[in-house]
């Protein structure tokens, strides 16, 4: 598997990873950050699963047939766990976004920073 074409899955992973990471860092909207984070995490899932694929291997589910070639089940297991973690993270993240929106009225980073700084300056003046 040393040919470039044979490693197209990894290129896909990298592309998704960078898209997701870029969104997390460069986008100021909290929802967009979360979306980027999800894409980022998903790219990692794909990394694991695609690396576990064995040529001509089928899905790693026991069917009773003998001598079937299975893909590596371990990455699948790991990613199931990771997906759960990802879901939980997404849930907490969006819950926080809702709370921030209720409290501040905005979910844009720039506006939030301005409001927070205003609060901090007010505090520093009192202190």
């Amino acid at each position: 598997m040393s040919s470039l074409a044979g490693q197209w899955n990894y290129f896909l992973v990298i592309a998704l990873m960078m898209i997701g990471f870029y969104a997390v860092i460069a986008r100021g909207n909290m929802v967009k950050k979360m979306v980027g984070l999800t894409i980022f995490q998903t790219s990692v899932f794909m990394l694991y699963i695609s690396m576990g694929k064995v040529a001509n291997g089928t899905a790693p589910i026991l069917t009773g047939e003998a001598q079937t070639l299975y893909a590596n089940p371990l990455p699948h297991v790991l990613i199931l766990t990771a997906i759960v973690v990802g879901v939980a993270t997404t849930a907490v993240g969006y819950a926080l976004i809702i709370r921030v929106y209720e409290s501040y009225g905005t979910i844009e980073d720039d506006d939030l920073i301005k409001m927070i700084e205003a609060e901090e300056n007010a505090e520093a003046r009192d202190a």
């Binding site: 990873m17 950050k33 690396m51 907490v92 501040y104």
Partner: protein, 494 residues
């Protein structure tokens, strides 16, 4: 029963969490948390002595599946040292939590608070006990997710807790994901996830480049989690706006566990002799460490909010731990472990004491403690001793940490770094003394709220203060244990 202790260490708080969520009665959730953290502390103490007697790692196979097929829990000299720190601090923080949570969090949320509390503690304990790399990730996320929620619960007092928690979530998840990427690369190279197996198989791998990439991702992820400069920006707002009990717990334990995981992966899996690891990454970590020490200390000098001040101070202290790691020697690693232990004690004491003040006045600032030395002398003395320990005054634990850290540097001929470490240490005097002056050498302004102190307020802090002094005077056992822990990774392992 005894042979199941390693798993009980994690299971008790873990199972207790959903239980706590159901207990809606007054203080019942707290009571359960207290019980379980106390049990966890007891277990960790027993495990420590068992491991010490066994003179070798205790290995527990989950579900009876032996390594490397199944997930194993490993109690060796390193985890045996870190477990009591985490569980002990968790226990003391839980004691203090009752009053602090009552004051700061809406009564309807208490049960859920303690559920998240137990989850984050379970996650931390799990990270330390487990011998499987992916299991570390799972517990890391368990701990982190509940931590994000806990931080956000500070919104009742200060709504800035919400964006702080969100930032923490984003950066923490990015860090964890980096870790997983690195782990994936490692798995591709070796085909195993068991830590001990990994280190064996890694030695035979020819492709150093892939291994280095894996290390880079893993290290980067963990740097984020341990708030190593310059990836530390999430820490200060998170600690500052979280509820006081959460600040205390996290300041004392969360980043320490990440330091431990870093040591475990970097030294336990890759190893110091790994292909120039020492040269490449050691210097980087040393630089980041000393930069963090200065950044944190200087920022702390400029702070007026006490929680932020000590959060910045934590950045500096984590820098010192990084320096110990970066020295890539037995003494350096031992110094890192010593400081891991001592800092937990010192910062635990400080944040608990500050928490007692914050719970009363809402925001512990320099102004709010003017003249406090006379009103709440016991609490302020706790802060004084904690501060002196941070500077590294002899007879406190901080001094011991500093001595071994510098010794590690001098042994490797890092004279300049040693000098810089001392300078940053001396700078800490500036922010500690600001607090002392405010508390004792100024008069309490008329109209300022009267501060109270009851045993519930200061006893947990003083437990940690006494430990700080105790381990400053009777440091022998700690130093020995730290060297034993370091020896697991460098030189003859145990």
């Amino acid at each position: 029963m005894m042979q199941h202790l390693p798993v009980l260490q994690v299971l008790l708080p873990l199972l207790g969490a959903p239980l706590a969520a159901l207990l809606r009665g007054r203080d019942m959730a707290w009571g359960l948390a207290l019980l379980l953290t106390g049990a966890a502390f007891l277990i960790s103490a027993v495990l420590f002595s068992l491991q010490y007697q066994a003179d070798g790692p205790l290995i527990y196979d989950l579900g009876g599946w032996p390594a490397p097929l199944g997930i194993v829990y490993v109690i060796d000299a390193a985890s045996a040292l870190v477990l009591p720190v985490v569980s002990g601090l968790a226990f003391v923080a839980t004691i203090a939590a009752r009053r602090l949570v009552e004051a700061e969090i809406d009564a309807r949320d208490h049960a859920l608070f303690y559920a998240a509390w137990l989850l984050t503690i379970a996650g931390m304990l799990g990270q330390v006990t487990t011998g499987d790399a992916f299991n570390i990730f799972v517990f890391l996320e368990i701990s982190s997710l509940s931590a994000y929620a806990l931080v956000a619960m500070g919104a009742g007092r200060d709504r800035r807790a919400l964006p702080a928690a969100f930032n923490y979530l984003i950066l923490g998840t990015v860090g964890a994901t980096f870790y997983v990427i690195g782990l994936g690369l490692l798995y591709m190279l070796t085909g195993t996830l068991n830590l001990m197996d990994l280190s064996e198989r890694l030695a035979e791998v020819e492709s150093a480049r892939a291994a280095f990439t894996a290390l880079a991702f893993i290290a980067l992820g963990l740097f984020l989690k341990m708030a190593l400069f310059p990836l530390h920006f999430w820490l200060v707002p998170a600690y500052a706006y979280a509820p006081s009990a959460v600040s205390a717990l996290m300041a004392a334990t969360a980043t320490k566990v990440s330091v431990y995981v870093l040591i475990r992966l970097m030294f336990g899996v890759f190893g110091v002799e790994f292909n120039g690891l020492a040269d490449a990454i050691g210097l980087l970590i040393l630089t980041l460490g000393i930069a963090g020490a200065f950044a944190g200390t200087l920022a702390a000098i400029l702070e007026t909010d006490l929680k932020k001040l000590f959060a910045q101070s934590s950045i500096a202290q984590l820098g010192y731990m990084a320096i110990g790691i970066g020295a890539m020697s037995l003494t350096g690693l031992a110094a890192a472990f010593i400081h891991l232990f001592n800092h937990a004690l010192m910062k635990g004491a400080l944040f608990l004491a500050i928490g007692a003040i914050a719970a009363q006045v809402g925001r512990a600032s320099m102004q709010s403690i003017e003249g406090a030395g006379r009103q709440i002398p016991i609490t302020m003395t706790a802060i004084l001793v904690g501060g002196l320990a941070l500077i590294g005054v002899p007879l406190t634990a901080g001094f011991i940490s500093k001595v071994y850290l510098v010794r590690a540097l001098l042994e490797q001929n890092f004279w300049l770094l040693a000098g810089l470490t001392f300078i940053s240490s001396a700078l800490a005097l500036a922010y500690v003394w600001k607090i002392i002056e405010a508390a004792w050498l100024k008069e309490r302004p008329a109209g300022a709220p009267v501060l109270l102190e009851t045993p519930a307020h200061y006893v947990p802090a003083w437990l940690m203060v006494l430990a700080t002094i105790g381990f400053g005077i009777f440091a022998g056992p700690l130093v020995d244990a730290a060297y034993a822990a370091a020896a697991v990774f460098i030189g003859e392992g145990r």
